[in-house]
Amino acid sequence: MFDYTVRRLLIAVPTLVIISLVIFLVLSLAPNDPMAQVPMTVPPEVKEKMREALGLGQPLYVQFWKWLVQFFWIEPQVFIDHYFGTQFAEGKLRVISWQTRAPVMDTVVERLPQTLWVVAMSYVVAIAISIPIGIYSAYKQYSVFDQAGTFITMVGYSIPPFFTGPLVIVIFAVNLEWFPSTYDTLHKVVDWDSFVIQLRQMALPVMVLAIQGTAQISRYMRSAILDNLNQDYVRTARAKGLSESIVILVHVLRNSMIPVITVIALNLPLIFGGAIITEQVFKVNGIGQQLILAIYANDLPTIQTLTFIFAFLIVGMNLIADVLYAILDPRIRYE
């Protein structure tokens, strides 16, 4: 198990480097010009100098190497400096946004909490709703509840967040006026009333993201339970005289969670992807919105860094899913 984890971690390093290279090459292929936003009145020689100042005159491999060093070597130093008050990163060049001329990671650190609040909360809500739904619709297969659940999850599956987003805004914010349509990032939770306000402004984006997650997870949960209900050990458990609630919620559920947990872990990065759009719709200034803005502004270092963070999440979640799998299922020993 330990060996397996170490091996997977070792493989993850070249994987991530290759991913970052691919992202870098794709971005450098894109026909864009970071100077496009600069007014026409600026003379070409000045533009050229500005380009060089951004490091654009150098060959691609130098640019890539610089990014690698900045992201993997200098940024961690900044991180350590911040928490331990050390001076490792003094005067070293960090990954700088072309758009704001500020370090990309500073913006990420500023915006990440908003994204996490919305994304994490929506995922927790999705899991909490979908697991009971999955169990019940499997246990009462082909019942009215199951059929209705199947219909609703199919709808939730197939309608993308950019449609459900405006839809819930129209229904809950415009017509019913229950919740605000935008998310106020500057809002601080200090007492009960402000906490309620926070909950209310989170409600719509969380709802939109949770619809998607619930649809997926409850489907997986249902089929995992169905697979296990036919297993011999379920009959053994019943033959022992155990009650249905113990048979289902202990014996069957524990086995069914094995595939579902991995799906939950693997889908988390996808939810981040969905958050990019949802954040845009609800004006949450999280990292999803940051990415969109960076794309509009041709801000390559920011795009590169954010895309890489998403890739890192996917690889990391994959690893966590596999390790969880082995922990939950005593039969799996990666040796």
Binding site: D3, R7, A237, A239, G241, N255, D329, P330
Partner: protein
């Protein structure tokens, strides 16, 4: 049987119906029988005869499998209740009976236990519910139970998970679970079918001993008449959901009344049926068949010579997945198969017999040794040569459900090898495939069907047709009849013997079933822990077994005769030593002593005595 005694279970006119998409199907009808205290009643019948359905109906578990008890009574009596009709009980009340008054053991020890919970947890569950024991008290009791079913190192087993135990040990755990609350009735549904013969013998004698110790009655469900003969007091024969015949075990075996019972008994391959016959021959399935079957002589010309075959599988470990040990699956095995004859490889699961077969076909790469097919070393052939060589060697696998592609029509599956080797096309192909279907006695209407529309025996016939499509010289039969019902098994065996004569086939027959092996073989090799421990002609192996393992194997085979019951001590539990050795380990070459001409016994020490 004492009729004045009160039966524990009195089943009366039971009828179970299943609702399917095509309407209702009757699982069991008109079934009545009784079980008295302390007796073993065997429900016997082929698959689909409704024997499991009736036991699940007794437990009222059939409702969970989509069955519906339409009519009938199941009167249950014990100290706490008298003539209680279980059919009328609520599921809540049934829970107090299940596991408490009636225990149940299932067929598949591999899947009957929950894989994610420890043995201790699964054993104590019932005790805590029915007996209201505390966690600690239940654990103590669980340990006692494990001792009762004679599991080696019981303390360690409690903390283990099911996958860490062998099949035999798991079945002991399941039995311990069923006996946890000292039930009055133990239902055992094919408890030994999935086990090796030696383990089967141990489990049977364990059940016999436990029955004596606890005084519980046993309802034993099986398709195997030999097992019935070993364990039953009374027998209920079932066919198509109805009772065919009921009676004392001696009466059923000595004077069967119904034709079906007679047919069932005659298709059981009996160990010792071939004594005095030099060559294998087809089984007489029908008493009306006058002509004696013709013995199959074959030739003395070697077709396949296997010399010092060794196959090892690497065991990897560590961060870099280096090879850390070797699994010695096949170790220095040699034998010869003559043209038109059958060589059988026998042994328990994990002894390497299948690996030998697969190494010959080069489905696994052997480490060293020679496999000479007509004098050509198969192991040294290039990929292209090997492809041609496969024309001569074909294989039939054990599982008729898994070995056919579920989405291909049967015609295409049988035609595939012919197309692969460009042997036929167009009208010629159609004719050849149709011929093959005639050969294996399948109706031509099956050509356009799909595998799921066929029974197990019919599927195995398709697999045989596919194997003989290329006119091979060698057919490897890997447990080819093990998964079939006895009557089907007998007819498939007869078909194989018939084809052997007509097509001059040589068979390498891999099996764990000694009675079947006796029927078909010219020569036999007994394998244990990757080695060939004894080799010789059929007569030598069956009538004069020399190696202790061969002897144990022979003794463990259940005999379909209630007068000859095995007396095996279930204490004689012998864990097979591990075939995994370190990289440095160089095993000795196999050395044999010749008992008689052509009869060799291994002299190497394998830890079996």
């Amino acid at each position: 049987m004492g009729s004045e005694r009160k039966p524990i279970v009195k089943m009366d006119e039971l009828k179970v119906v299943f609702q399917t998409k095509l309407g209702s199907v009757t699982g069991v009808e008109n079934l009545s029988f009784s079980i008295f205290p302390g007796e073993t009643v065997c429900l016997v019948g082929e698959s689909g005869s409704g024997k499991s359905v009736s036991s699940l109906a007794l437990m009222r578990l059939i409702e969970f499998d989509g069955g519906n008890i339409e009519s009938g009574k199941v009167l249950f009596s014990s100290e706490s209740m008298s003539d209680k009709d279980l059919i009328k009980e609520s599921q809540r009340d049934m829970r107090n009976i299940r596991g408490n008054e009636i225990g149940m053991v299932f067929q598949e020890p591999m899947t009957a236990l929950n894989p994610v919970f420890t043995i201790s947890r699964q054993l104590t569950e019932g005790l805590r519910i029915h007996k209201g024991l505390s966690k600690n008290a239940a654990q103590k009791e669980a340990l006692e139970l494990l001792k009762k079913v004679r599991i080696p190192e019981p303390e360690r087993r409690l903390k283990q998970f099911p996958h860490q135990l062998s099949g035999g040990m798991r079945q002991r755990i399941v039995i311990a679970m069923a006996l946890a609350c000292e039930p009055k009735l133990l239902i055992a549904d094919e408890p030994t079918t999935a086990l090796d013969v030696t383990i089967q013998a141990e489990i049977l004698s364990l059940l016999n001993r436990l029955k004596k110790e606890t005084g519980a009655a046993v309802l034993f469900i099986t398709h195997d008449m030999s097992v019935v003969a070993q364990i039953a007091d009374r027998v209920v024969v079932m066919y198509h959901g109805r009772k065919v015949e009921e009676g004392d075990v001696y009466k059923i075996f000595n004077n069967p009344e119904q034709d079906y019972t007679k047919k069932l008994l005659s298709s059981v391959p009996k160990l010792g049926a071939m004594v005095g016959k030099k060559f294998p021959e087809a089984m007489k399935l029908d008493s009306s068949q006058d002509a004696d079957p013709i013995p199959i002589k074959g030739t003395n010309e070697p077709l396949l010579e296997v010399k010092n075959l060794t196959t090892r599988f690497p065991v990897t470990g560590g961060v870099l997945r280096k090879k850390v040990a070797n699994l010695h699956a096949v170790e220095d095995v040699s034998f010869t198969l003559n043209k038109g004859q059958t060589f059988s490889l026998v042994g328990e699961s994990g002894c390497g017999k299948t690996t030998v077969a697969r190494s010959i076909l080069r489905l696994e790469e052997a480490m060293s040794g020679q496999v000479l097919m007509n004098g050509v070393d198969v192991l040294k052939q290039s990929k292209a040569e090997m492809l041609k060589q496969r024309l001569n060697m074909q294989m039939v696998f054990q599982d008729p459900y898994g070995s056919l592609n579920p989405v291909m029509q049967l015609f295409d599956q049988v035609a595939e090898p012919l197309l692969n080797f460009k042997m036929a096309k167009g009208a010629d192909l159609n004719k050849r495939v149709a011929n093959l279907f005639d050969r294996v006695r399948l109706p031509q209407s099956f050509l356009t069907r799909y595998p799921h529309e066929l029974s197990g025996g019919q599927r195995q016939r398709v697999a045989i047709a596919r194997a003989i499509a290329l006119n091979p010289k060698l057919v490897i039969l890997d447990e080819a009849v093990s998964a079939l019902d006895v009557s089907v098994q007998a007819s498939v065996l007869n078909l194989l013997l018939e084809l052997q004569v007509e097509l001059e086939l040589s068979y390498l027959f891999v099996s764990h079933d000694m009675a079947v092996v006796e029927r078909v073989s010219h020569f036999i090799g007994v394998m244990y822990l990757g080695r060939m421990v004894e080799i010789g002609d059929r007569k030598a192996i069956f009538e004069n077994p020399n190696h202790p393992y061969t002897k144990a194997l022979m003794k463990a085979v259940p005999v379909a005769d209630p007068n000859r019951r095995n007396k095996i001590d279930d204490l004689k539990f012998k864990p097979i030593s591990s075939p995994i050795h370190s990289l440095e380990h160089i095993p000795d070459a196999s050395s044999y002593s010749e008992i008689k001409r052509g009869h060799f016994v291994l002299t190497n020490e394998l830890g079996y005595s």
